[in-house]
């Protein structure tokens, strides 16, 4: 998809259920954007997600570091955000001690959504102060993502005045302004992830009022090998003088059937998603690997920024 269509806002929050490849999608978007000349900051909300490894680096920290040309990344955990807030509000070095003593847990419990609002408040601060053209936020796994993004509205209702209230209001302004922030939802072409994505999408639109970017569908096999018989395969092998045994042919047929069954299911789910959620889709290819590395991120970035086949 044309990146200008994808990156219509400076902040893109990437959200999805655990295991759907949210971080993979964040990495692909970061690389595609960097290649188009944008400077990118990726913000990891949950710490160790494997993002750094996808670019061939070690773990990330609270300070932004370079991952690749044009791409910086950092973590932003709720605990860090809360401690930073307390430090900035006159508690100084006591903050860490209070955190250890459990007092911070109590504060977070007394003010639900407090940690989330601080994280989002920090994102808003980055939007204002960081030089990056694009800020990608790798959100917590859904349903946490819903709670996370609903927190400002909840606080707006619960807290009547003061800095937390104005923080919540500022974050609501950010989230409801489609020219500033969008949510990019990620899923797999499977039944349960699709259902969860649809639920999340409607909740976010209705209750947060956030603009949804095109949906990313990870792990698409796209097509199966042509449907030809074992005899035709054997004939073709003989004609090319390949020493293929009947058991090799059996393996070819079995692998093709396995893929065809998955492709059938995949297409059904992609169509079902399109019917239930009228958003543009970006399909990223299934990668025949067990660990996503820099080469794989390049393949995904190509696919993400590829021209659309139709409309």
């Amino acid at each position: 998809m044309d990146l200008d269509r994808l990156c219509t806002s400076r902040v893109v929050i990437v959200a999805g259920k655990g295991g759907v490849g949210k971080t993979t999608a964040s990495a692909a978007l970061a690389l595609a954007a960097a290649r188009s000349g944008r400077s990118v900051l990726v913000v990891e909300i949950e710490g160790k997600s494997g993002l750094a490894a996808m670019f061939g680096h070690d773990e990330l920290g609270y300070e932004a570091r370079d991952l690749a040309p044009g791409i910086r990344a950092r973590t932003l955990t709720p605990d860090d955000a809360l401690i930073e807030y307390l430090q900035e509000h006159a508690l100084g070095r006591l903050s860490r001690r209070l955190a250890r003593a459990g007092a911070v847990d109590m504060v977070a419990t007394a003010i639900p959504g407090m940690k989330d609002i601080l994280v989002l408040g920090k994102v808003k601060q980055l939007e204002r102060a960081d030089p990056a053209d694009l800020i990608i936020v790798d959100a917590p796994a859904a349903g946490h993502a819903v709670t996370f993004l609903l927190s400002p509205a909840g606080l707006h209702d619960a807290v009547r005045a003061g800095p937390i209230r104005s923080q919540a209001d500022d974050v609501i302004d950010l989230l409801t302004d489609g020219s500033r922030a969008q949510v990019m939802l990620v899923t797999l072409p499977e039944e349960t992830p699709v259902n969860e994505l649809v639920d999340t999408a409607f909740t976010l639109e209705d209750r947060v009022g956030v603009k949804l970017a095109p949906v990313v569908i990870n792990g698409c096999l796209d097509h199966a090998p042509p449907d030809v018989s074992a005899e035709e395969l054997a004939d073709a092998a003989r004609a090319a003088d390949l020493p293929i045994t009947p058991s090799d042919i059996g393996a070819l047929v079995a692998a093709a059937r396995f893929r065809a069954a998955r492709v059938t299911n995949e297409r059904e789910q992609i169509e079902r998603l399109a019917r239930r959620l009228p958003l543009p889709q970006i399909q990223l290819p299934f990668l025949f690997t067990a660990a996503i590395g820099p080469d794989d991120v390049r393949v995904l970035a190509d696919a993400l920024a590829a021209p659309e086949p139709h409309g």
Binding site: G19, G50, L86, G102, A103, A108, A141, T192, A237
Partner: protein, 368 residues
């Protein structure tokens, strides 16, 4: 690789651990079903099943009490021993917590004061670990009822593998912390420093979020006064149950680097705490089809360019390659977790959302 039969026959509790998206709920349900088919009276505690699986288990809403599943659904051929029984429940965190409060409050008035406190009402959503704590509490209740031979718990998906075990401590720490004692008017000199820090914290919160927040906290802590001992005792009982040799851990994972790293972290933490991993379940494993090795298949494909045969050869090579990578990953985790039993479950073309599919998963878990 050995099947799970002996774990299913001997354990009283099976805790399924793993991160989100690895098929933990399905695996837990399948283990419970397999145990029921082996004649055990089994209950599975699920946390957040996908809707269709929940429907299949008869859990159309949060039940919080075990629902017995019709025998015809999990044993249609009627081959299982008659002692076998399968029940399921979906954890209702709030309801379980309310039950604990009611159990340990001295008077109904105390219970009401807590249940209606705003901080208490937020606790379930805001304090990380509450879900885990309530899952542990539910486990203990089921154990204590003496109704079941085997309790299979689908632990909440957590970033940090063993939150489930740490959870009771977190709540106790909250109730037991210095904040509590300071607010309750303790004048012990050792608390002076903490006290001044806390007053500054409170001033900050009051300025940031309004003074009523502090009032809520004070009321909450006051309401809990005297219940701490009961909570602590219960927590110790839960810990003892988890440490009992008849409690077994099963790690659920997928053959992806991140999931495997988490599984290893889990296993290490369990080992640190003196637990052993009884089983390892690797979900979504690609099948192996045999045939030529990937390099040869690709070389052959180049000799028949742009043909259907070439596409088939590349397809086979792709799957062989991913299967080999998965095998390598899984073999290291198998050694590392020291699991006595492990099972690999094939990548299924569609989701497991009925009992027929669940029975197939259960059979695969028992396959030697």
């Amino acid at each position: 690789m050995t099947g799970f039969a002996s774990v299913l026959d001997d354990a009283h509790v099976i805790l399924c651990c793993g991160t989100g998206g690895v098929g933990k709920t399905t695996t837990s349900a399948a283990l419970a079903l397999a145990a029921a088919r082996r004649g055990r009276k089994t209950v599975v505690v699920t946390i957040d099943p996908a809707k269709r699986l929940a429907d299949a288990l008869g859990l159309s809403s949060l039940t919080n009490q075990p629902t017995t599943i019709d025998r015809a659904l999990w044993d249609p051929e009627a081959t299982a021993p008659s002692t076998g029984q399968l029940s399921a429940l979906m954890l209702d965190v709030k309801h379980t917590f309310d039950g604990l409060v009611q159990r340990y409050s001295d008077t109904p008035e105390q219970a009401t004061r807590i249940l209606e406190n705003r901080v208490y009402m937020n606790l379930a959503g805001a304090l990380s670990g509450t879900q885990e704590y309530m899952a542990a509490e539910k486990l203990y209740e089921l154990h204590d009822s003496g109704t079941f031979d085997l309790i299979v718990v689908d632990t909440p998906p957590s970033r940090h593998a063993l939150d489930f075990l740490d959870a009771p401590d977190r709540l106790l720490r909250l109730l037991d912390n210095r904040l509590f004692r300071v607010l309750m008017g303790s004048t012990r000199t050792g608390l002076k420093v903490a006290s001044s820090a806390l007053h500054r914290l409170f001033r900050t919160i009051a300025r940031a979020a309004g003074p009523e927040v502090i009032d809520d906290v004070v009321l909450f802590l006051q309401a809990f006064e005297g219940m701490e001992a009961g909570f602590r005792e219960r927590s110790e009982q839960v810990v003892a149950l988890v440490e009992d040799p008849a409690t077994q851990f099963v790690i659920v994972t997928t053959p992806r680097t991140e999931a495997i790293a988490e599984a290893e972290y889990f296993a290490d933490r369990l080992a640190d705490d003196g637990h052993t991993v009884a089983g390892l379940v690797v979900n979504r494993v690609h099948p192996e089809f045999g045939g030529p090795p990937p390099e040869l298949a690709r070389a052959w494909a180049e000799r028949v360019p742009d043909s259907p045969l070439a596409e088939h050869l590349v397809n086979l090579a792709d799957f062989a390659q991913v299967a080999a990578r998965e095998r390598a990953l899984v073999s290291t985790v198998g050694d590392r977790v020291g699991a006595q039993h492990s099972a690999s479950l094939a990548f299924l073309p569609s989701d497991v959302h009925d009992l027929t599919a669940l029975r197939r998963v259960a059979s695969a878990l028992l396959a030697p």
